[in-house]
């Protein structure tokens, strides 16, 4: 592989020398990060230090792009230490011929990601990137009533490291074919097929289960006047080879469906989303995230819930179970004037079925699924671990200088424990985030964020409701300087660090428009951090962080 890349580079340079008209451009995007302090898990406090430098370089010669990421992460903040070339690729992009070819590392999403959505999130140490080949082609036939077609094939290897257990890995050889046709301007049909062979490491970090999976998907979109409709359905088949962990080979079937309907006109936008994910419907004792028949790591459908920007609301998100979840979301944006915008969001989700223990011996669990005819709808029954939320927000540009935003959020999460229902947990959160911004002059602005949250957790029944407050005061000078002071207070007795107060400050300074230096210090509260429904718990941190982001 190394020789191949050297050869490609030499070919590129040779072409650069001999070609008559050359368009050669280069760019570098570099991020330097350093942190030093103490971190708390539920057991102890320990030193935490990280030093990372990630440089993404691109060299463009006419229609060719050669890119690579050189990384030094030693020690890394999240994940395994690394030093060397993390990513590299060669891309050919011909706009006239509408051909795009890429060899090397890439991420991709097909449609809404029900069968193919690979991405990277360094903050979660999550990376499902593919190392392989991707060829995409699109063409438009006809002028008066054009018919557009788009086709893509890709294949390669995924070396996925479990972001919650860095010793556990899963590897896949993936092949994907995608085709889309737009026979009318407002109508599109698409199909996708993924075939993968994988090796999934078990919880014991030794046993490997070899699997084969097939995922066909069909989707369509229709835009008619003010209405937009999207529908996607994916089927999943996974078969495993017998091993010591699973003595009998398993063939498991699953499916997923996602749909959205939106209506919009000047001043009003309404979006209704529906999800029905049944990628691996299993009884409670089999809900193991290392189970080989689970949703594949290269899948990542929409969560179907609101993505919050409030610090306190986003700290306790609902963790979507893509293997077994049905739900819906309604989002309404109403802007009666250019100064006033209102947003109402209603979301709901639950599992499909309840499971009863029918064992009479008292020695084991024998689960029996309780079917319900309306399992295509979410339920509020405790046994189905329901989640719901109501969010209402008003933002108003009072004058050229004054801006305000007030919101109210109510969330209910039920984490049902089938084995011991008394150990189930119900969490109710009510949050009021407020943001005020006032421009002192055309360059100087003050911003205040105040958030108050009341939490009732049934597993904390001996204590009163928890109260959390978050206050952030920022002073900024356009376009280069921001100073922020963050304070947080909580009465939560279960906080891992044992703290009740957190104070931190940060300074962000743009050395140039593309070179940004950020320094922060103090105590930071931990919590769940999620991207695309993938969540990990980030522990509280007390220390100092420095980052320098540069584009050359």
């Amino acid at each position: 592989m190394k020789k191949l890349y050297i050869l490609i580079c030499l070919l590129l340079i040779s072409s650069a020398v001999w070609a008559q008209k050359l368009d050669v451009k280069a760019s570098l995007n570099n991020v330097f990060r350093y942190g030093n302090g103490k971190e708390n898990n539920t057991i102890s406090e320990y030193s935490k230090e990280y030093l990372e430098n990630i440089g993404d370089a691109r060299l463009k010669i006419n229609d060719f792009v050669f890119g690579m990421r050189y990384e030094i992460s030693d020690p890394i903040e999240y994940g395994n230490n690394f030093k060397g070339i993390r990513k590299r690729y060669l891309e050919y992009n011909n706009l006239n011929e509408n051909i795009n070819l890429r060899i090397g590392d890439f991420w991709d999403i097909v449609s809404r990601g029900l069968t193919m959505n690979v991405f990277e999130d360094r903050g979660l140490a999550y990376d499902t990137g593919i190392d392989g080949l991707r060829v995409a082609y699109k063409k438009t036939f006809g002028d008066k009533k054009p018919v557009k077609v788009k086709a893509q094939i890709l294949g390669g290897d995924i070396n996925y490291t479990d972001f919650l257990n860095l010793q556990r890995t899963e590897t896949y050889k993936v092949r994907d074919g995608n085709f889309e046709i737009t026979p009318l301007k407002n109508l599109m049909f698409g199909g996708n097929y993924v075939y993968a062979k994988g090796s999934v490491m078990g919880n014991d970090l030794k046993t490997i289960t070899n699997i084969t999976s097939e995922l066909p998907e069909g989707y369509m979109s229709l835009n008619y006047k003010d209405i937009n409709f999207f529908y996607s359905y994916a089927h999943k088949r996974v078969s495993t080879e017998a091993n010591t962990l699973y003595p009998k080979s398993i063939t498991a079937f699953g499916n997923g469906m996602y749909s959205s309907l939106s209506y919009s006109k000047s001043g009003l936008g309404v979006t209704l989303e529906y999800k029905n994910y049944r990628f691996d419907l299993v009884s409670p004792d089999q809900r193991d995230r290392t189970r080989p028949t689970k949703m594949m790591p290269f899948q990542n459908p929409p969560t179907g819930l609101k993505e919050h920007t409030s610090t306190l609301i986003s700290r306790n998100p609902h963790v979507v179970d893509f293997n077994d979840e049905v739900g819906s979301q309604l989002d309404i944006v109403f802007a009666p004037s250019d100064k006033l915008t209102m947003n109402l969001n209603l979301g709901m989700a639950s599992r499909h079925y309840e499971y009863l223990n029918t064992d009479t011996t008292g020695w084991q669990y024998k689960w029996e699924r309780v079917n319900r005819y309306n399992n295509f709808l979410p339920s509020l029954r405790d046994q189905l671990s329901p989640f719901w939320e109501v969010y209402y927000e008003v933002e108003y540009y009072a004058t050229d200088k004054l801006y305000g935003k007030v919101a109210f959020s109510k969330q209910s999460e039920n984490i049902y424990n089938e084995e011991n229902p008394l150990a189930s947990e119900k969490i109710f959160n009510s949050t009021v985030p407020v943001e005020l911004r006032y421009s002192l002059t055309k360059d100087y602005t003050l911003k205040l964020i105040f958030e108050n949250q009341w939490t009732h957790n049934t597993s904390h029944s001996l204590t009163d409701d928890d109260v959390s407050q978050f206050i952030a005061l920022s002073f900024s000078k356009s376009p280069d300087l921001t100073l922020t002071l963050n304070t947080e207070f909580s009465t939560d007795e279960d906080e891992p660090s044992g703290k009740k107060n957190w104070v931190s400050g940060d300074v962000s300074y743009k050395i140039t428009p593309t070179n940004i230096l950020s320094v922060s210090g103090g105590t930071e509260k931990g919590g769940l951090k999620c991207t695309n429904g993938i969540c990990r718990y980030v522990y509280p941190f007390n220390g100092f962080r420095l980052s320098l982001s540069s584009k050359f």
């Binding site: 451009k25 993404d56 690579m68 990601g113 599109m188 209506y263 000047s266 944006v333 250019d338 428009p513």
Partner: protein, 163 residues
């Protein structure tokens, strides 16, 4: 692998063509399914292209503040092109948000982030680049602070040759 690094770095720095950002043409679909090509927009005049997402508050503020600039100079050939980066989670809400705000500037989808990557986009948003008619990148803005719109308007005027 060291050879690869050496070769690449050698090529990068000895090429003598090092520029801060590189222009790259693209065609993306707008909210109505029409193709929007950057080079065609540039034939009319400068383009401020900004990468944004519905979950990004500073991006929404930038739109609110840059929209009047677009309305003021669009007849002079200026285009504000909003390139959406929403992922599969929230892409369904993009059109309803834009329509509700009654924005008239072009909004295109870059769901797979290929254009974002081509313009060295990383994690920060909004990320805006002002491109002159001659396809030269005139300025780059990472993030948005209240008051940035003043500088942006000055840059747009300069790109249009308005004093």
């Amino acid at each position: 692998m060291k050879k690869v690094v050496f070769l690449f770095v050698f090529t990068l720095f000895l090429s003598g063509f090092l520029k801060s950002q590189t222009y790259s043409d693209f065609t993306l679909q707008d909210l109505e399914g029409n193709d929007v090509t950057l080079s065609k927009l540039l034939e009319k005049g400068p383009v401020l292209m900004s990468f944004w997402a519905t979950w990004c508050s500073p991006c929404k503020e930038e739109m609110k503040k840059v929209n009047p600039i677009y309305e003021k100079y669009k007849d002079s050939g200026f285009t504000y092109l909003a390139i959406n980066q929403d992922n599969q989670k929230s892409v369904s809400k993009v059109k309803s948000y834009i329509d509700a705000q009654s924005y008239k500037f072009p909004v295109v989808f870059d769901t797979d982030k290929r254009v974002f990557e081509a313009y060295s986009g990383k994690d920060e948003m909004p990320y805006a680049l002002l491109i002159g008619k001659n396809k030269e990148i005139l300025s780059v803005h990472t993030g948005f602070k209240t008051g940035d719109e003043v500088k942006i308007e000055e840059e747009v005027k300069a790109a249009l040759g308005i004093k």
